[in-house]
Symmetry: C2
Subunit: 644 residues, 2 copies
């Protein structure tokens, strides 16, 4: 595998006006301030976060006990990280001051040995590492480290990162293979990703060693042995919370199926990818591709949602993908972006960037409302509010986005994904530039000692056209690799107004190898036909059904447009599909009008001999899945429909 | 409503060779002995019952504490009741001795004041009635009373009934509207039915007064107030276990929707029917028909299964009938037989006897294996064992029948249903005889002072022909009311070999009003076409699908006949249906061969653009639903199929 693919310094990437430019503006204007208020218990009508207060308590500037989940610190961390990304493009001294003040508190809460955690500080830090399975200490540490690196990269301020280096050094002192250290790992992966990131920022590979150690020890020590002292009474114990839930049922080198808690799984697999990029150990690559194949071929919702079961928020078995009872957590979709991105840095096959695209326009993005103030934790593919409101096996499903959660991991996670969207657009090798995502943006990168500026202009995902302008001082030969999305069968390519066909398709990328000049303009038109998708028939829920897609967007239908009892609707595969531009909360969108039928059966009792049922012709309206639930609350929504 | 419909003395009904004759033989030869062994902890490889042992402990003939569920006594009671029915047709002195010995133990366990309950006796009888909500004391009392009446009717032995009269008198002394008594009721209805039965056996209507009191006080006192002292720690508390679970959220006269725990609901509604038959209070009839309509039109599985949710074993909301996650408890189907039968004694509309028929050939009967030794508690309409084995929201589903259960209410309940099947065949008024069920049998009844013997011969439900022979001393004019099953559109009728068409259809019964003579022979042929049934499209799970029925039998398909991935199969509605007689465990049965298609979609990933999929023509085989899981264990089974 080609591991010589470089990430681009995020400061060299600018998001321009467009779909993501708007989302980034919303992040700066609404999401960051709203979440800051909420983390400070200033939002009415939502569960109190206590997350900032907990740091104030730990800093001994406030009396009290920390409140919230045991991993509440991570909400603060993820918010800082999101804010740091936002600051790169939207300077805001007030926001920076808030963060600096928060960093001061975090610093003040730090123990002399470096330890930072508001919950375990309250217990007494001698209790640290006493519940590695469910205590989430290193999970919180990881998020704080990631935030500190991001804040350093955004502002050049090192104070936060220095605090976290002190903490990371403590962890390195206390854990590791050496005698006298704790031989263990955290039940929720995250520290691994953070340590890799810290190693890159500090150019200190010892953090990578520690991350690798944490990954490699998994599955090789028994739970509740050695230093893992799980508190049985804290830990829900059932067969869905066994060691596979923690991704600790086997060593990582023996993993073949995506399993366990979906977020934990994604974070771990992303970590394994980091390890492989560092070490090149072929066995790890085999593991990664096996896991990926299993995910993509057997355990993935069409929206990019993952985790088919609420209990344990986890993967179940192959082909078990119920549309109405999955967990499909926003954080899991985000985690899959992390993993997919790392895979594309190892092996630039388009399927990895296709997955990033699937998530950022569907499964992950549905986690946040268009106004930025409400969130889904669970992203169902089908909602019947009357049934959801009653059934115990749907208790985890919300029929509308909420302003916050008791366990609020998702809102700040989607914020940092939006803030860091630039990261996923480009990468480069010594002699080529990859365009993975079609997002209006500008990037400055260096190929063969030449600084090249590449600018994308597009109304993607609504429109099929992408204009790429190149600027450079000297003519230069290099490859431009444009992802051909998996959903796209036909495209046209022009360079400087002339059709260009000397490309070749390489692992799903349109490879243009030529000598480029300043001012060159590439126009790519990706045909965005409306398409009906069917599922492998081993997925029992979707037999005889189709889902509507256009471009990267999965579409759904809502009660507000199509009336109740959506299950009665049948899509006419021969019908006419009409694109309809509409604006929803200032987002100009493309909806789809389509032909179909409504098959209404009303019986005297529930069941009657089959008749040739009257089917009423109907014109239906589908909207992008990520937009569902933005106009009304608690109505029916559905993605999969019968076909005629 | 005509309430002058008489039940027939069960001793006047004989089940002859045929479908139910065989089931009754199995009951006597296998089921009763197997269950007796199991109740005595003598069956290997199944959860220990302890039920008989508990009585031995309560009788102080054995040391120890009672074990099992708090309502374990009821298993003994229901077994005695089943055995009593069996003894009416299969005299067995050994069995009678066993019961007499058991009655001796029960008598010895009785407290001086009359109280009988092994669990509360162990706690100290001053603890009696201390947990009316979940303690099941009067539920157990009710079953013991029913058993004692059945044993008295079967054998003429009064000892057991006298014991229970003593107990019933204690209950009457301690509960009631009078000052100084407890103003409460049992959380699980059953005592009401038992008191009615005891009143009929003893001709003492005070027991009916008490039963009416227990029904009428429901919903009028608050939980945990007055004398109801629910032990919070014993009682699972969630919104599915609120007062509606106990059928106590409102007074019975305000009930409109079937709700709560399905078995509790059925027993209560049966009790309300008893009260209406006694009092004729029109409001109760309105309640009963509203509840019935709600059940039949919105909350019933096609198999007769009821209770759509495991948590709370309960009803959910209208049209929520998932095929794979329902509870559809055997006991609930049996309870519906009790209620339906009482409804047909009030208003002889065929829909009530149709419901009895639906249960005894489908939802209830599937609860017992053909060999009589294994049982379903939950009767799913669809099984994918691979998924059931993993999913937490299907934890309640078994993919094969079990030899016994920790909570073993169903096995003895299905035994007493089989034993009492004769009860549901006939009823009479002053001038007519109703034939509700087509079961080879003989009945002696009295119409207008004339003793009439009516003999049915039929291979129903496999065969469409029913022969009814009448014997009497004197010519007599009376009405013969033959149920026209709801599934039957065409029939022929002959009397003494000559086509007869002077009948009229009255509330679903073919009413033949003529002067009958000794030796008259009626031949009824009910056309048993194979039919495809569709559901009201408000039931989202069955849109675009059909279920196969022939006569009263719902058919299913199993993996053993049709291969795995049953969801890929599509029934050809224009195809050929062939009846195939086959013998399964000495039951000669009629299976159905039918045309259809298998639509197999194999994708590279899970989803792909829709193609014109190859559909392979297949010949499929369907078997009666009640027979599923009798040839193999843990395989796929399905009732609802797509249609082409």
């Amino acid at each position: 595998m080609n591991c010589n693919i470089n990430e681009i310094n995020p400061k060299k990437i600018k998001i321009l006006e467009g779909f993501w430019g708007n989302r980034n503006q919303l992040l700066a204007d609404v999401v960051i301030p709203y979440q800051w208020d909420t983390l400070n218990n200033r939002t009415e009508g939502v569960p109190l976060s206590h997350a900032v207060e907990n740091f104030r308590i730990a800093a001994k500037e406030l009396d009290g006990e920390p409140e919230g989940t045991i991993f509440q610190d991570s909400d603060v961390a993820k918010w800082i990280e999101a804010a740091a990304y936002s600051l790169m493009y939207h300077p805001n001294s007030e926001l920076e001051n808030s963060i600096d003040e928060l960093v001061r508190l975090i610093g003040k809460s730090q123990q002399p040995n470096g330890y930072v955690n508001t919950f375990f500080a309250a217990k007494g830090i001698e209790q640290r590492w006493s519940d590695l399975e469910m205590g989430h200490e290193m999970y919180c540490a990881g998020h704080l480290i990631e935030a500190s690196v991001a804040y350093y990269q955004a502002t050049g301020k090192r104070k936060f990162m220095d605090i976290m280096i002190h903490y990371a050094n403590l962890i390195a002192e206390e854990f590791g293979p050496e005698e006298g250290k704790l031989h263990s790992y955290d039940g929720h992966p995250e520290i691994e990703l953070a340590l890799y990131r810290l190693a890159e920022a500090t150019e200190d590979t010892r953090y990578m060693d520690l991350a690798d150690y944490f990954m490699n020890i998994r599955g090789s020590i028994k739970r509740n042995q050695g230093e893992i002292t799980a508190k049985e009474e804290m830990t829900p114990r059932s067969r869905w919370f066994e060691s596979d839930y923690f991704l600790a049922d086997k060593p990582i080198r023996e993993m073949t199926e995506v399993t366990g808690h979906a977020v934990r799984a994604m974070y771990l697999y992303a970590g394994i990818a980091d390890q492989y990029r560092r070490t090149g150990e072929q066995r790890l690559w085999k593991v990664l591709t096996s896991l990926w194949d299993n995910l993509e071929q057997k355990r993935l919702y069409i929206t990019g949602g993952i985790g088919s079961q609420s209990h344990g928020e986890r993967f179940t078995v192959d082909y078990d993908l119920p549309p109405d009872r999955g967990y499909t957590e926003t954080c899991a979709s985000i985690g899959l972006v992390f993993w997919a991105w790392r895979m594309s840095l190892i092996d630039p096959e388009s399927r990895y960037a296709d997955m990033v695209e699937k998530e950022i326009y569907n499964g992950a993005l549905s986690g946040i409302s268009l106004d930025g103030k409400t969130y889904f934790y669970v992203n169902p593919l089908e909602i019947n509010p009357r049934i959801v409101a009653f059934r115990q096996d749907m208790e985890h499903v919300l029929t509308h986005r909420a302003g916050w959660f008791d366990c609020a991991c998702c809102p700040t996670n989607i914020a940092r994904l939006i803030g860091s969207i630039g990261k996923y657009i480009y990468s480069s090798t010594d002699n080529s530039v990859f365009v993975h995502q079609y997002i209006s943006s500008e990037v400055e990168l260096c190929i063969k000692d030449e600084t090249i500026t590449l600018q994308q202009e597009t109304h993607y995902p609504w429109n099929e056209e992408i204009k790429i302008s190149l600027r450079m001082k000297h003519r230069k030969r290099f490859g431009l690799m444009l992802r051909k999305p998996v959903w796209c069968d036909a495209w046209t390519l022009e360079i400087n107004g002339i059709a260009y066909d000397s490309w070749c398709l390489e692992k799903g990328y349109i490879h243009i190898d030529r000598i480029w000049s300043d001012g060159d303009i590439v126009r790519l038109k990706l045909e965005m036909a409306v398409k009906l998708f069917q599922a492998d028939s081993r997925v029992q829920d979707y037999c005889g059904k189709v889902a509507l897609m256009r471009g990267p967007l999965v579409y759904c239908m809502e009660e507000i447009d199509n009336g109740p009892q959506l299950q009665e609707l049948i899509i006419d595969s021969q019908g006419n599909f009409e694109l309809k531009e509409e604006t929803l909360q200032s987002m100009s969108s493309v909806n789809i009008l389509l032909d179909g039928y409504r098959e209404t059966i009303r019986t005297d009792n529930l069941y009657q001999p089959m008749e040739r049922n009257e089917k009423t012709k109907v014109r239906m309206k589908a909207i992008p899945y990520f937009q569902w639930g933005n106009r009304v609350k608690d109505q029916e929504m559905r993605i999969w429909f019968r076909i005629a």
